[in-house]
């Protein structure tokens, strides 16, 4: 390790010891994991581009950064209100990683739903069962271990806040659950290492919206680890709406474990962030388990968005369906690496994967790599990737009907994203994405009115 690289790693470790000193004593099992995380991070160092999984993503902007840890969750209520999704929802809010009770809504939680900040879950866990940390400590880190990546190790070393959601068997949550992460524009950049644990009991059902957003000008680093456990027959829809400010740095490692007949549907909608890396892994462990990965990434300016996905078909008759769409403008850089692995004896599985990209500028770049590894013989699998530009003939055809060029391009861009957006059930989210991708289009077109008009015609 060179001196410069070593000092990058050391800077993060120094922050860690500062924090540990300030925090004081903690339960030994937490301290032990922290230590293991730090040791692993120190051994690995930040990933460099000679590592295959990081070939196209340069994390030096993170490694060389000098990030402090936030100490309060102060946030202007008016600004928060303008950033919060206008949805009737249960909500946990974090400001630069710190839990913000004033911006959260935890009243009216239905029976069978436990939703609380990790810090509280750890305390309750500790107080209730001093010698037994199984309740939270057991699942925490089981799916995303420190060996997964340097970032997962770093998260484990710093882990102290995040969200814990547990759904008892058979619980159906009507309102969506929002996990909101606000990023502040401060004098010095900060980092946070949120930890999310979602445990959906058998036959439970919920929609979780993870929303990353912040003040313009913020340049913070978020390093998220998320573990999702779906028991038999559980159904979880998981939105990850990334609208962080354009100088924010964001790394997320998401692991999903699925038991028999469970269904996990992911919407990875990435609009914001200067440097974004998502790792999304699903383990299909029981027959009938189904994972749907819907992704849309839109990059402009010099945004860099890297999505790595992996589906492991570990059991027969499991299903995965992945559809990622990338739209890149200006000098934005996108990376898609999707892998589907069918384990030996995982017969009669279906795994479909598709990645299509639209380049709106000559200087935009996409690196895409769909991968399929099959060790069973009775399977239905497909994968494919396409990259193209807007059809200039179509732009001309629309302009020939009086539609101005910007609107025509916006409309065609939206049409490209349509396949993914049509799956989005929450209008609030679909509209935000449409507006980001197509600029002025929604106002000009009054899409809602059109849809109504079209529906009415059909009904007659």
């Amino acid at each position: 390790m060179s001196d410069a690289v070593h000092s990058d790693v050391q800077r993060f470790l120094d922050r860690l010891s500062e924090r540990s000193n300030a925090r004081g004593a903690e339960p030994t099992w937490i301290a032990a994991r922290r230590q293991a995380g730090a040791a692993r991070f120190e051994a690995l160092g930040f990933p460099h581009r000679r590592i295959e999984a990081w070939k196209y993503t340069d994390v030096r902007a993170i490694a060389r950064g000098d990030f402090h840890l936030a100490t309060d969750a102060d946030f202007s209520p008016a600004t928060a209100a303008s950033l919060t999704l206008p949805l009737e929802a249960h909500r946990l809010t974090f400001v630069d990683g710190i839990f913000a009770p004033a911006l959260s809504r935890l009243d009216e939680l239905p029976n069978g739903v436990q939703l609380l900040p990790l810090s509280r879950a750890l305390v309750e866990n500790h107080e209730a069962l001093v010698e037994n940390h199984e309740a939270v400590g057991g699942p925490l880190g089981r799916l995303t271990g420190v060996e997964f990546s340097a970032f997962a190790a770093l998260n484990t070393a710093f882990m102290e806040e995040g969200a814990v959601l547990r759904l008892a068997s058979g619980t159906i949550v009507e309102k969506p659950i929002i996990l909101q992460f606000l990023s502040r524009a401060g004098e010095a950049p900060v980092m946070s290492h949120p930890r999310i644990l979602l445990e959906a009991g058998s036959r439970s059902q919920a929609t979780v919206i993870e929303h990353h957003v912040g003040e313009e000008g913020a340049a913070n680093f978020t390093n998220l680890v998320e573990e999702v456990i779906l028991e038999r027959g559980a159904i979880l829809t998981h939105y990850k709406l990334q609208e962080a400010p354009l100088a924010d740095l964001h790394v997320a490692s998401i692991h999903v474990e699925q038991a028999r007949d469970s269904r996990y549907t992911s919407f990875n909608l990435n609009l914001g962030g200067g440097l974004v890396r998502n790792d999304l892994v699903a383990e299909l462990d029981g027959q009938g388990a189904e994972a749907n990965f819907n992704g849309l990434f839109y990059g402009q300016g010099r945004q860099h968005v890297d999505n790595h996905t992996l589906v492991n078909h570990n059991a027969p008759r499991t299903f995965s369906n992945e559809n990622y769409k990338g739209i890149l403008d200006d000098r934005a850089h996108g990376v898609f690496n999707g892998k589907v692995v069918v384990k030996r004896d995982s017969q009669q599985i279906e795994g479909y994967q598709s990645n299509a990209n639209l380049l709106l500028s000559d200087r935009a770049e996409i690196d895409t790599k769909p991968e399929l590894e099959i060790y069973a013989d009775d399977v239905k699998c497909s994968h494919g990737s396409t990259t193209g530009q807007l059809d200039e003939e179509a732009v001309f055809a629309l302009r020939c009907r009086g539609i101005d060029e910007q609107t025509a391009r916006g409309l065609l861009t939206l049409a490209f994203a349509g396949e993914v957006l049509e799956q989005v059930d929450l209008d609030v989210i679909a509209e935000r994405v449409e507006r980001a991708v197509a600029g002025k289009l929604p106002e000009r077109f009054n899409l809602t009115g059109l849809v109504e008009a079209a529906t009415a015609l059909n009904e007659e």
């Binding site: 302009r399 609107t407 009054n446």
Partner: protein
């Protein structure tokens, strides 16, 4: 209404139109005929503003405005609409979106507000019915998976909704069976009005049995070599284009 004067157009360095002049007045239906490669499609493409055509000489004015100075969408909003020979498929954009967006763009240019939803629906239903199309077409992506005939009907439907001042129809009859052609011709005939003009570009006289033009022009090698009334089209049908070329050469 439309005045084309001494128009010279080159495409990739070769001259396609070599001094074409044409005047179309309100209320008239003109047909431009000619052999393949004469430049028929070039004329309407240049008027609509398609890329790749360089006007080296001459002028096009529409209601006193210099068309060549106008953006593509401005031309359309001013009432100059081109019906395509090969309508492009636009996946993901529903027909109804296109129609409403186009109509509202036109209304905005005229200083009118957006059309209210009920009025829009009424208009669309009426026009769809007159083109003998099913309303399910409106929910389908523009031209995607449409047959040749459906695409052409769709072009006329757009004309009926947008009510252009000058409708230019490029080979609107190509690929149509006789029944589809009658529907298309009925649609075009319903556009005929005192304040509107229609320019048909066609290779075959057949269409002109259903849409009877006031003026017929023969375009050969980038110039209009002969003009006449509907009778000229019938003469071309029976004698072909060669005699015109010979007559001109002589």
């Amino acid at each position: 209404m439309l005045e084309v004067k001494d128009l010279h157009v080159t495409v990739e360095g070769s001259e396609i139109l070599k001094g074409l002049s044409l005047t179309i007045n309100a209320g008239e239906v003109h047909a431009i005929m000619g052999p393949n490669g004469a430049g028929k499609s070039t004329l309407s493409a240049v008027i609509a503003g398609k890329d790749g055509y360089q006007v080296t000489q001459g002028s096009i004015t529409f209601e006193g405005q210099d068309v060549l100075e106008m953006e593509i969408e401005e031309r359309a909003r001013a009432g100059l609409l081109l019906g395509f020979q090969y309508p492009v498929e636009i996946p993901g954009v529903k027909n109804i979106y296109l129609l409403k967006a186009a109509l509202n763009a036109q209304r905005e240019a005229q200083g009118l507000g957006e059309i209210p939803a009920p009025a829009f629906m009424k208009l669309i239903k009426e026009k769809v019915a007159s083109m003998k199309m099913d309303t399910s077409f409106l929910q389908r992506a523009v031209n995607e998976g449409f047959s040749g005939g459906e695409k052409k009907r769709n072009e006329i439907l757009q004309m009926l909704v947008l009510q252009p001042k000058l409708a230019m129809l490029d080979e609107i009859d190509s690929g149509l069976d006789i029944d589809a052609m009658k529907v298309v011709a009925d649609g075009v005939n319903s556009l005929r009005a005192e304040d509107r003009a229609i320019l048909l570009v066609t290779h075959y006289q057949r269409l002109l049995d259903y849409i009877v033009p006031d003026r017929v022009h023969v375009l050969v090698d980038g110039r209009i070599v002969k003009s006449g009334d509907a009778e000229l089209a019938r003469e071309l049908e029976s004698r072909g284009y060669d005699w015109v070329q010979e007559e001109t050469a002589a």
